[in-house]
């Protein structure tokens, strides 16, 4: 068979439809300040940050097999870097988001070296311990309020934009931009040579190794990249909240338990999973939040039902039945006529 006789296609009909719908959605969302009220903008901004967090955790755990329960370490780290940069060094908050990402990547290098010595469940426990250490350290930083936390000074906030409405728009667009950047970046990564390796690792590590993939190197890379992304998201989250404390910044509940819930019910190991999962999570939260602790019980029940009846998550459930995929990630072999 000669070179000219074959062609490899990435997009399918399903992914063309998916990409078109997603592009329209992003355009509509970018224009949201025109059609949504302030409360909705704030809610959507929060949704975008969870899309980013869950997509990153999915890359880490769903693809690279690194089941971390300590990503709140980087959420909190990012938040604290933003506050420290703004309060102590006068760095504009938007620039501080980037600084948070860069510093988290640097920090992740030695942390990963330590964590990767731990196997299996010990890795998960180790990541949680690291996050707790981060929390304890943050509580010791007097200039940032110690254990009780600190607020962002008014001057820093007004520095973003003069009017309150414009500030809220900018923060909304930042959140949307970050979610698009994270999801788009992951799609591009999966389209690349690294994506081929990551998907292989997701499916079978032994075979991946035996077929020439440097599994440890790729896991290391993914750990560092997700740390950076998670910290940038954390910085943005706490820029929206205007206040940070060790307990909110390093909350295992908010930044890891909910994120795992989102990824697992949406469909772990697929790019679409966290998107679907985030929508489901916020639908549940907005309708059930009044129920108090019953709400957490309901989340648990939903998680159990999904895991029993759709172990590949809601997206996996429909995608496998109808051959759907929203992103052009396949390498389809086609013979030229």
């Amino acid at each position: 068979m000669s070179d000219a006789a074959i062609r490899v296609e990435h997009a399918t009909r399903a992914s063309r439809i998916g990409m078109t719908l997603l592009a329209l959605l992003v355009v509509a969302l970018a224009a949201a300040p025109l059609w949504a009220d302030r409360a909705s903008l704030r809610l959507m901004g929060e949704i975008f940050t969870f899309v980013a967090l869950a997509s990153l955790w999915n890359l880490l755990a769903g693809y690279a097999g690194l089941v971390s329960v300590g990503q709140q370490a980087y959420v909190g780290f990012g938040g604290y870097v933003l506050f420290a940069a703004a309060i102590l060094f006068g760095v504009p908050p938007i620039a501080a988001i980037i600084v948070a990402g860069a510093l988290a990547a640097l920090l992740a290098v030695p942390v990963a070296a330590l964590m990767f010595r731990l196997r299996g469940h010990y890795f998960a426990i180790g990541t949680w311990v690291v996050a707790e250490i981060f929390r304890l350290v943050a509580a010791q930083i007097g200039v940032l309020g110690g254990g009780s936390g600190v607020s962002l000074p008014a001057g820093v906030i007004t520095g973003i934009a003069a009017t309150r409405a414009m500030r809220e728009y900018i923060i909304y667009w930042l959140a949307l931009g970050l979610a698009v950047l994270v999801v788009g970046g992951i799609v591009l990564l999966l389209r690349s040579r690294y994506g081929l390796a990551l998907t292989a690792i997701r499916d079978n590590e032994t075979a991946a190794r035996s077929n020439g993939i440097s599994v440890m190197r790729i896991k290391y890379l993914v750990y560092v990249v997700t740390a950076a992304g998670t910290a940038m998201t954390g910085a943005l989250i706490f820029l929206t909240k205007l206040r940070i404390s060790p307990d909110t910044a390093f909350s295992v509940n908010d930044w890891t338990a909910f994120v795992i819930f989102i990824t697992v019910i949406g469909g772990i190991g697929r790019v679409e999973g966290p998107l679907i999962g985030t929508i489901v999570f916020f639908l549940l939260r907005e309708t059930l939040a009044d129920l108090g602790s019953l709400y957490l019980l309901m989340l648990g029940a939903v998680a159990i039902v999904v895991m029993l009846f759709a172990p590949k998550g809601l997206w996996g459930f429909v995608a496998d039945r109808f051959g759907w995929q929203a992103f052009p990630l396949e390498r389809r072999l086609a013979h030229k006529p």
Binding site: M1, D3, R193, N204, A207, R209, S210, N211
Partner: protein
């Protein structure tokens, strides 16, 4: 005679089970070697130690003159040591074609788009081209074994380790497989083949070794090894599927 792959004084035990007891094995360039032995003799474990998925308790693995005993599997693969797993290990969520592309791209270090054409070719040779775009997780056991072979070939091996690839094939399919393996040899690839389907094995290999109790109890020219007393003795009690 020069040696391409050698196991030197390899020992391995799992608790009380001795799977290798100071085994020496040398494979010459271009040679095809067959390994037989009863179930649980330690044949697959030998492949594990050769390719790095299992580490020996003692002894050395030498490839092309270099000591590779502590090299990880991915490095050994890139040096040219490929293996088909007895229990197939497909990338279940990827298509058959993507499985082979992974092996070709990472096993040889080539750019992804440069391996598309050779991979399509390999699928053809292994009888998988009709299933190129199916998810590998949905393949039958037989096709999974074909995929194991296809992936191993895609890494452009110098030594190909085949672990029971003929089991379950029809007579016709078995003949095709034997032809394919002879073809692969003709390209200069050295082969070690573990197989219970003895007639297929002896039609390909130059030399046959018999593993039992962690040792080679017979080795040499395939037909005479089959007829030798210890082999007849061991295989007496082995049921027909073996």
């Amino acid at each position: 005679m020069p040696t391409l792959l050698a196991l030197e004084q390899i020992s391995k035990r799992f608790g009380a089970v001795v799977v290798a007891d100071q085994i020496d094995l040398a494979l010459a360039p271009g040679e095809a070697l067959g390994i037989i032995g009863p179930n649980g003799a330690g044949k697959t474990s030998l492949f594990g130690m050769a390719t790095g998925t299992l580490s020996p308790d003692s002894g050395r693995v030498i490839f092309d003159g270099a000591d590779i005993t502590t090299l990880p599997p991915e490095r050994r693969c890139r040096l040219g040591l490929a293996r088909s797993f007895q229990i197939p290990q497909p990338f279940g969520g990827m298509t058959v074609f993507e499985n082979v592309v992974v092996a070709a791209a990472f096993g040889t270090g080539a750019r992804e788009r440069d391996v598309y054409a050779p991979c399509a070719d390999i699928l053809d040779r292994c009888g998988l081209s009709q299933k190129a775009n199916r998810p590998a997780g949905a393949l039958t056991l037989l096709d999974r074994k074909r995929l194991e072979l296809a992936r191993a070939l895609a890494t452009k091996p110098r030594v190909l380790l085949l672990d029971e690839v003929a089991g379950g094939l029809t007579e016709h399919e078995c003949t095709a497989l034997v032809a394919l393996i002879k073809d692969i040899r003709a390209d200069g690839v050295s082969v070690i083949w573990i197989e219970h389907i003895v007639h297929a094995l002896v039609s390909v290999v130059d030399r046959l070794v018999v593993l039992h109790g962690g040792r080679f109890i017979a080795q040499g020219e395939p037909h005479s090894v089959i007829k030798s007393a210890p082999v007849q003795e061991i295989y007496m009690g082995i049921p027909a599927d073996a």
